[in-house]
Amino acid sequence: MIPELEKFKGFSAKRLPKEEGLASGHRGCQGCGEVLALRMVMKALGKDVIVCSATGCMEIITSPYPQSAWNVPWIHVAFENAAAVASGVESALKVLRRKGKLPKKHIDVVAVGGDGATGDIGLQWISGAFERGHDMVYVCLDNEAYMNTGVQRSGCTPYGAMTTTSPPGKKSIGQVTWKKNIPQIMVAHNIPYVATASPAYYLDLMNKIKKAAMVNGPAYVHIYSPCPTGWGSRGEKSVEYARLAVETKVFPLYEVIEGKYIVSRKITKPKPVSEYLKGQRRFRHLTEENIAYIQKRVDEEYEKILRLAELT
């Protein structure tokens, strides 16, 4: 067990923090799962935090000058480099504290990026920051495509999904590749804390963010974030999809603490994947056969996580 986590106390539904690091009134779409998750992240982090955002939906909807939804110090530099910006902030706090120019009080440094910012264009910057061991939390809000630029595919777009650059056609099913496994790439960096989370399980999500902030060194939390606009789903169903993704084993919830896998929510009676796919326009074109393949692969991937939990 990591010593920093010995004092860990989880949030309770009755006593959620009142503070909102991220104010309402932002420009997010109705039913946006990303901004819902981000609000929970900010609630879990409290006031003593500095946020470094990557370009993407969350940056755009929260900061149309002269308005800002941020109640905490916030910086946006570019698309791919939030982890590097956070490295700089963290290093500055460290040296200024050491020189007595800042109070000793701990300030969490958090980088936030979408799946594109995290798993595609920004992977190198995160890898560098994690390898150097900066004390930061990196939060990936995974809505499975480049939404800000109009729903283009990313490496995190699931197999078969329709996006504007993975259109299904006579010769294509849509997205032809399986979803890139970003959390496991982060695990490979031997950082102290990696977790996956879903806004449907908000206490679990907030607790994971809290742990990520408590550990010394880099921590990574990958949050599944429904996007009604990009997925062609109904806004009021976002939380339901966030739950279904977990219940169908499509998006397993787990933690990896110092290399040890812990499954947060073991799915013993999984729902069929078809239940999750249904109602999302991005999957509408899939055939029974396609769905059977997805079901098989989802089961296999889930097994891998269970096995990792046994092995570690």
Binding site: Y65, W74, V85, K99
Partner: protein, 392 residues
């Protein structure tokens, strides 16, 4: 007492950064910048400089990291060159647009392809419009002095802009020169602690780097332009103060033997030293030749330049970059603009020289002066000419 020592210019620059008490250094190695950051990492490792040295994984990350550290209130330094500067390009514009006072040394080097580690100004000229204040050093002493000056200016609340000090790769970065390293006490007198007006602080939350909608974007860009133009005053004032503290004088444009000069060479960076030798030689031969050295490149000191060039009939402007397909080199273009429709303006001829490490010798400067003299009589077809091209 400040001591004069024989020292490699790169090492001296690192020592200047130490004297400036930089708090975060994030950099990625590239020839010919390497010795600067290697020495800085040593200074940090030995405890001589209390800073965070961040060995980032690329130049893009270097400058991104610098954005974060300076925004959080730490004095911040980086250095790069050539391909590294190109990789930084995106963030260069962000850093200046966000008014983040980072100081950077660029050890000027040619651009690929073909790949070349040798000196010219193509790297920095591609970033001409990046919105950073830019100076050019002529020798090692200037490289040190301009580094201290850069921190002083960039962090000044009235300026709050990032600043690049250009030094020629190898011809400056790797030579050993006698350099006076200032006293810490004098540097402390000259350079107050970094106290930014805005920083990332949970006690006083602000949002940095928001979206610029069409209603504000033009104004934001204009404010940037005004800020860098207004900065000229403070750049010059910081040179005045530099002289008071350290006894050495710097100006946006330096004149050399321009009194009664009819043909004036215009240079930037270390070739100015050879140009001075060439001017001396031509003066000995009775030619009325002088030299203007541009030290401040951005903001461009137009009025100062016009004043310094007063009386000149012909300018032979040296560019150390080739802009394929353009009407002339960037310095040539700049000066043509500065003198556009000015009564009595000198004729301007533009020479491209010293690309990718090719020496610009005394003979080459003589050639430029001779050519400029003859072009003044008979206008050439092209607005620029590449000098020192091998016949075979």
């Amino acid at each position: 007492m400040a001591k004069r020592v024989g020292i490699e210019v790169s090492i001296a620059i690192a020592e200047a950064v130490k004297l400036a008490q930089a708090e975060v250094v994030a950099a990625y190695p590239i020839t010919p910048q390497t010795h600067i950051v290697e020495h800085l990492s040593e200074l940090v490792a030995d405890g001589e400089l209390d800073a965070e040295f961040i060995p980032v994984e690329s130049e893009h990350a270097a400058l991104s990291t610098c954005c974060g550290s300076v925004a959080a209130g730490a004095r911040t330094y980086t250095a790069t060159s050539s391909q590294g500067l190109m990789l930084m390009s995106e963030v260069l514009y962000v850093a200046s647009g966000m008014r983040l006072p980072i100081v950077m040394t660029v050890a000027n080097r040619a651009l690929s392809a073909p790949i070349s580690i040798w000196n010219d100004h193509q790297d920095i000229m591609t970033q001409r419009d990046c919105g950073w204040i830019q100076t050019f050093a002529e020798n090692g002493q200037e490289a040190v002095d301009l580094t201290l000056h850069a921190f002083r200016v960039a962090e000044d609340r009235k300026v709050s802009l990032p600043m690049i000090v250009n030094i020629d790769g190898f011809t400056l970065s790797h030579v050993i020169e006698p350099i006076e390293l200032p006293d810490q006490a004098d540097v402390d007198r000259y350079l107050p602690p970094f106290k930014p007006k805005y920083k990332l602080d949970p006690k006083k939350p602000i949002s940095m780097g928001p979206v610029g909608i069409p209603e504000v974007y033009t104004e934001a860009r204009m404010a940037h332009d005004q800020a860098i133009k207004n900065a000229k005053r403070w750049i010059i004032k910081a040179w005045d103060e530099f002289e008071e503290v350290f006894g050495r004088r710097y100006n946006p444009v330096e004149e050399y033997r321009t009194e009664d000069a009819e043909i004036v060479l215009v240079t930037m960076g270390s070739i100015s030293e050879t140009a001075m030798t060439a001017v001396d030689k031509m003066r000995d031969e009775g030619k009325k030749v002088g030299l203007l050295k541009i030290r401040l490149w951005r903001p461009f000191p137009g009025p100062e330049f016009r004043k310094a060039a007063k009386g000149a009939k012909v300018l032979a402007v040296v560019d150390r970059t080739l802009a394929p397909g353009a009407s002339s080199g960037p310095v040539g273009e700049e000066l043509r603009t500065v003198f556009y429709k000015v009564p009595g303006a000198p004729k301007i001829f533009n020479f491209i020289a010293g690309l990718g490490g090719r020496d610009v010798t005394v003979e080459r400067f003589e050639e430029m002066v001779d050519k400029a003299a003859s072009y003044a009589k008979k206008r050439p077809k092209e607005l620029y000419e590449v000098i020192g091209v091998r016949e075979k």
